[in-house]
Symmetry: D2
Subunit: 268 residues, 4 copies
């Protein structure tokens, strides 16, 4: 009999086929964040009990585009960049659990399988999408990171555009927004393989960056459009009042989280 | 407080964002199967205890290409075919558990996110890949389903070709091969969110088709090449002796499986 | 000094890098055709002089989805199907030149580079797109080719959906529609490399199938939606009156065309 | 009768469907260049008469990866970045025409249709490919632009990897290499629509940057592997002797070229 190895599937004798390496996971990326207020009821309906609306500004939403290069501790994926580069767009709200405020990703689209797998581990509800955001550049027509710079950002899934934004930077900012600023409170759910038996996995987990470095944040204005789709509900988080847009370059390490609650009788 | 709905993430008030619908799942597809013998040790090393090598022909491998259209009970995904069509290539071996013979998918690549999600549920170790297989056609240069017809099949992942086959049909066959002919014995694994705590989910599950219809199977000969890749180990299942190739059109329903064993202390 | 070989670029010593082989080109495919009437002025504005509106039914439009396998005379591309399979969606109108009626493709999207290259040669104004159409199948939930069968078809480009249709078959038909039934009259245009010098290539060419075989055509009803996009004008061919929808499986050979007119002073 | 507008196909009443805008075209991008010497005969065989081998270092090859954002004079494509971002990898050699030394792109792969169309205009022999290169970043694990920084670069087409390189920066450099440093001498070829009639377009054109700005170039060492493929001949430019690798960020404007020679009897 054999022991198979690997942090994730497929597990093999060597472990080298695993779709994702064991943490820590290291990231370099550019974040384009658009914050606005929606109807708090549209946030509440996405929060499974016992999560509650955050006490302050409960309708605040952050829609975030990120352009990442990520790797394991060895960094080897960076040298075969099809294995390290990916883009994502995700919607974050806040919630309250046992008196503490958490951020929570309610929708997220990525463009690589390893990003989907990491999301399963971290409780991000990932689908595949097509994500684009303007990159700053020091030469030619692409924007510098400076006042007046304009960045576009788009999201599509299943051949339909779901969101598009244009952000215009105004000035350096003390913050990169507030909606995505708390530890994440996510669920990890998997149905029982047996019909009618509920969930085989039903965990509430929390995690955040194990370490973080960043350049100066910039704040600015934005135009944002959300589009209807038969299989997506991002547009239900309708734009009631804009807050602000942000741009920031970051380096992040993720190295595991904490189990907040588990429904251990789920599959029985 | 809210109740969120949906068979899979993301769960929402309506449930309509779920990446996959609740079973039953219905499939129409074409299967191109290549069976060969590898060193049984290469199979054994992929079988976590308590799975054992099958008693008969323990080194047999099936490499299968499938071109699918799939949908929920409503069938609505068929009318927006980006939501129903996908292709996959997968390697199947056999194993023994509690005296019974099972089939087991050890590697699989698909080209849609909903297929990845279904695989998580069913215990298929899915990654994204680029999969192609010749389709039969009644007019023009594509092959008819008849003696002498030739079908190509290829698999790539992360911008590297992993496998390519050419199958030549010889005659109708009583079977579509034997390696993928048993109920599947798969693991559903997810690491604990907390480092060093092992697995949060560690289940051995079994499932098979809830119903099945098919056209006549054809048997034939094949050429198969497997290629090395730094992140894949398909080529370790080296080709020691060809068995046969098969072609068959099928209709399948999947409607849940059975929990064979669960390591319930996994996350403690 | 060397002679380079190849029907198309890149030309090399062997010719084997050419993006497309020399004709004849062989095709097996399924055609899903939706015909409707638009404002004839919307057709006229797409016809460069000296092309005129067709005398009869000048506002007729065919929007056609095709799911192809194509190859050179050797057929070798069929065995590496990433080199033979592609999908396309295209809009066809009719026009008159020197008293004869021609069909003319005014918009077309494909999903492979070799299809783009063939289009350049044939005068099809190809862009890349994401194209899907339901495939008939003899088992499972996908439709048979029979009365009541429903097929979906979608088109997207640049992450925006441009068109979607649902076709319901009613009965066998003597025709597969009439809009795409004439020889094609296409322009082959390429700007001069020098600014302000007009066109280096300005040809009106005609071509059609060198041979053709087909299964029975089916006629039916359809729902069709066209969507606006900043970079596409398909939706300007607005749907004023539906005609009919058709489904047919075909085998086609293309083997060159005829030069109708050339503006040889183009680049001077 | 109508006049249709647009720099490229499809031409319409408004011109807004054109796959590419009229020049000037503006680019911001990162170039990763690997220079080596191959057998000069392998260069010569790619040079159609009357082009000859360059007098000095005739076997020099540059293999260049570029990560671009490009736009028209209006810059609007930058705000919908699916319309501006693309990547490419291309092989450049040098040649001599009428006593002058030119650079010449002999193979090139890009990942967007508008890039293919611009290549047709400029004489670049473009195919679609999957291209990746490590991006520098100021935070996290991705490399800074500094001594010791390592960048990976890969190219695949038709589901096969064609090239992969790892570049290690050593020090700032006075140049970004020499192979791609001359005006380009390219052919624009299109076969006659009529079989056996040769070429309808057969031009030798030259072009270069209308304006250029750049950051400091860096020089370094590299590992490069080229892989065989049935439909590509890049690997024939075998690596006989490495020269150096370079990294540079640039801004470029392209605004037309010059006709060097035209075979005006091509299609007769």
């Amino acid at each position: 009999m054999a022991s198979v190895r690997g942090y994730f599937h497929p597990k093999t004798a060597t472990g080298s086929s695993s779709l994702i390496p064991s943490p820590p996971w290291h990231y370099s990326g550019d974040l384009l964040t658009v914050e606005y207020r929606t109807d708090p009821e549209r946030v509440r309906e996405l929060l499974p009990e016992p999560l509650e609306l955050a006490d302050e500004d409960p309708g605040a939403v952050a829609l975030i585009w990120a352009d990442w290069q990520s790797c394991s501790a060895s960094g080897q994926e960076l040298l075969d960049p099809v294995l390290s580069q990916y883009k994502e767009a995700f919607a974050v709200v806040r919630c309250k659990f046992q008196g503490q405020t958490y951020s929570r990703c309610v929708y997220i689209w990525v463009d690589k399988d390893f990003a989907i797998a990491r999301g399963l581990h971290q409780g991000y509800p990932k689908k595949l999408g097509s994500i684009h955001q303007t990159r700053p550049h020091v030469y030619g027509p692409a924007p510098r990171i400076e006042a007046g710079a304009r960045f576009g950002a788009t999201l599509a899934a299943a051949d339909r555009r779901l969101a598009q934004a244009v952000v215009t930077l105004r000035e350096p900012s003390a913050t990169n927004g507030f909606v995505n600023g708390h530890p994440m409170a996510h669920h990890r759910w998997l149905p029982s393989i047996e019909k009618g038996r509920g969930l085989a996995l039903d965990e509430l987990v929390s995690s955040g960056a194990a370490s973080f470095e960043a350049g100066p944040a910039w704040v600015g204005d934005f135009d944002l459009e959300l589009f209807e789709s038969p299989t997506e509900e991002l547009a239900r988080l309708e734009i009631r009042e804009p807050i602000a847009a942000y741009y920031r370059q970051v380096g992040v390490v993720w190295d595991g989280g904490r189990l907040l609650a588990s429904n251990t009788t789920a599959s029985e």
